[in-house]
């Protein structure tokens, strides 16, 4: 058997005199390294083409833990270093990995950990709701904070400027023209061509990481279900899986399968809605009407079978909240057949539409190289040759027993992203058929066990947008002391700044929709 990248990485660290004390969180190795080696360790990981997945920090008694999660071939490694409070700084990894940039700024804004040579000194999540040198995630910062009567707008963010003959700037947002989430986009354009785009996010920062502290497992699951409403199932699953790991709770296999069913249903619902919306962004109403009809018909039975149209709060610590009976299984299987037939009509009709072709092909190109550099995940990555799917590469129940057909495209344009999603609907239909017809008997919820003090959990779940990372630590009495969730949007958003380059301004909406980052999931 060939050597895993983890072994190679470990050897590489050792041969570079980077000692890494090894422990683990469940089956993810955790390597504790010296903070002075933080950047060097990232450099060596990059040499092995590992992907930078997520970063977060945590305040301890008089020091801080800083974490960076890396992955290759489905094998994850968690790097950790501890930095003393009096000297709260360490070298940045974002000089090596672009994906670490916003994450390090997030950590700096909320905890005051200073990454010395982070190339970007601008705040990221912090606008004007708290003062400079205040850090909301610190233990001495009260949840209520000290808000002003009216929080002033964040006017002074130092956007990159472009100058020259005919160059002009377009500020867009935070409030947008459609029914969408708020965020700011700053364009520099010449004529209709976009020269540069900069995102400024953080408008929907709700203090989720702070709100998580001291919650019970049930309450944390509810909060996680509201990180990004469109991924409510996937986020709740990730948080529950992390908590279950920490508490050594094994969920019944029926519960795992029901979670899988809910998650694939969520994938289909979002793909249906978004494919329609993308077509609508280029004025093709037929697809919008058909797909939004299918989506509605898809959501309605969920109220009965899962207790909620969007299946919110369906996943709970230890299992799921509702069981489905044989009739419901039959009904859902029938609905899958109908959906397939409908798609067999609609998909060829949109495939052969020349106006759609004209607008979607070659628009919003993301090269495989850029996709890899940014570590993008989900359908955005898979449309640019990034062959990664947590369900297949780091399988968890119920996917470990199922055949996962990961869809891959390589053109990297808006059309590719649409086609990945079309094909993923068909793949999910197949998965659902298997899961519904082989649903194991048994309980739907395991009894909860109080985890040991300081127990940690780390989960990776493939939501419809891609890989979700969820980290929890408990304190002594079944309460959460730290929760961090990395929505796929965090790593996908920066790619939009590249996707739109040299496109025309009127194509921005369709480029944006084809990536469809969650603002709420990103801003926490």
């Amino acid at each position: 058997m060939s050597q895993s990248w983890r072994d190679m990485y470990s050897q590489l660290l050792s041969s570079n005199q980077i000692s890494h004390t090894s422990s683990s969180i469940q089956d993810t190795p955790l390597w504790q390294i010296e903070s002075s080696q933080w950047q060097r360790a990232a450099e060596l990981a990059k040499e092995l083409s590992a992907r930078w997945v997520a970063g977060w920090a945590e305040q301890l008694e008089d020091s801080f833990n800083v974490n960076a999660l890396l992955e290759k071939d489905g094998d994850y490694v968690l790097l950790r270093t501890t930095v003393a409070e009096q000297h709260l700084q360490l070298p940045s990894q974002s000089t090596i990995y672009a994906a670490a940039n916003r994450s390090e700024r997030h950590t700096r804004d909320l905890l005051g950990v200073h990454f010395t040579d982070c190339p970007d000194h601008r705040p990221w999540l912090k606008h004007q709701a708290w003062q400079k040198h205040e850090y909301p995630l610190r233990k001495d910062f009260p949840l209520s904070g000290q808000p002003q009567d009216i929080t002033p707008p964040d006017m002074d963010y130092a956007f990159v400027k472009a100058r020259g003959h005919g160059v002009y700037e377009i500020p867009v947002g935070p409030v947008h023209a459609g029914i969408i989430e708020p965020g700011h986009f700053r364009f520099q354009a010449v004529g209709e061509t976009i020269l540069n785009l900069e995102e400024h996010l953080g408008y929907v920062h709700k203090g989720i990481e702070k709100l998580a502290v001291q919650r019970s497992p049930e309450k944390l699951a509810r909060l996680a279900a509201r990180i990004s409403g469109d991924s409510t199932v996937a986020h709740a699953w990730a948080a529950c899986q992390a908590m279950e790991q920490a508490a050594s709770v094994d969920i019944p296999s029926r519960a795992a399968w029901l979670r899988g069913i809910a998650c694939e249903r969520e994938r289909i619902a979002n793909h249906l809605g978004d494919i329609g919306a993308i077509c609508n962004d280029v004025g093709f109403a037929f697809a919008q009407m058909q797909f939004s009809r299918l989506r509605e018909q898809w959501l309605r039975p969920q109220l009965q079978d899962f207790g909620h149209r969007l299946m919110m709060d369906y996943i709970v610590p230890g299992g799921v909240s509702h069981d489905i009976n044989q009739d419901a299984c039959e009904r859902q299987l029938q609905a899958l057949k109908t959906l397939r037939q409908e798609l067999d009509d609609i998909v060829p009709a949109i495939d052969m539409n020349s106006s759609l072709e004209d607008r979607l092909y070659t628009a919003g190109y993301l090269s495989p190289q850029t996709a890899q550099d940014f570590g993008v995940v989900g359908y955005v990555g898979r449309a640019s040759s990034q062959d990664f799917d947590v369900r297949r590469d780091k399988p968890y129940a119920p996917y470990h027993t199922l055949q996962i057909d990961a869809v891959l495209e390589e053109q990297g344009d808006v059309a590719s992203r649409v086609w990945v999603r079309v094909k993923e609907i068909f793949a999910s239909i197949k998965l659902l058929q298997q899961m519904l017809s082989q649903l194991p008997d048994g309980d739907i919820k395991a009894d909860w066990k109080t985890p040991q003090a300081n127990a940690e959990g780390l989960a990776m779940i493939d939501g419809w947008r891609g890989e979700i990372i969820s980290y929890v630590r408990f304190d002594e009495d079944n309460r959460i002391s730290r929760f961090y969730a990395r929505d796929p949007s965090c790593v996908n958003w920066p790619a939009l700044e590249k996707i739109v380059l040299n496109n025309i301004v009127p194509d921005f909406p369709v480029c944006n929709k084809s990536l469809n980052g969650s603002y709420s999931g990103h801003d926490l």
């Binding site: 953080g202 969007l310 060829p348 009709a349």
Partner: protein, 182 residues
């Protein structure tokens, strides 16, 4: 093109029918909404949706109002792209502090007479997020609210009911929204 027409014909009209109002609450609601809009808004009501920190769950259901099954436009209600074209602001989310000024500006940019609907538990009472260093805690802490639609998220039917409630209330209200300057 043929495929397109054939699918369109085969799909037919899926919009839930107006014939049997008693059997279908949505329709009943819609008809009432339509009558009121005709009477008080000359047949058209323009809504501006403002996300003030929602988790985006509420947006999904607001979107659903535009699908061919609810087809809210048939009642004369449409979503405007600018607050300057709006009669009603439909606000979601617990109003993140980073959105507070933006929401105020949108409200100020909406011409009188104007109404505000707070949609979803977050907008109504803070929901899962409440009041904190990051959230104002509800819409009415920032701008005056005329109608509150609870739910997490409210279903499309509940949203439609809420809009009806607003219109019924609007008839009786003599003053436009008190110009509480914040």
């Amino acid at each position: 093109m043929l495929r397109l027409f054939s699918k369109t014909l085969k799909t037919g009209v899926v919009t839930e029918r107006i014939k049997k109002p008693a059997a279908d609450e949505l329709e009943q609601l819609g008809i009432e909404v339509k009558q009121q809009i005709d009477r008080h808004f000359k047949g058209s009501l323009a809504i501006r949706a403002v996300d003030a920190g929602s988790c985006n769950g509420c947006e999904l259901e607001i979107h659903a109002l535009n699908n061919p099954i609810y087809d809210i436009e048939r009642f004369g209600i449409h979503f405007a792209a600018s607050p300057r074209h709006a009669d009603v602001l439909l606000v979601t989310g617990p109003v993140s502090r980073h959105m507070q000024s933006a929401l105020l500006r949108v409200w100020q940019a909406t011409p009188e007479p104007k109404w505000v609907i707070a949609a979803g538990d977050c907008a109504v009472c803070g929901g899962e997020f409440g009041e904190s260093y990051a959230c104002c805690g509800s819409v009415d802490k920032v701008v005056p609210v005329d109608v509150a639609i609870p739910g997490c998220p409210p279903t499309p039917e509940m949203l439609l009911k809420g809009i009806l409630g607003l219109i019924n209330g609007a008839k009786t209200r003599s003053q436009p929204s008190d110009a509480r300057q914040k």
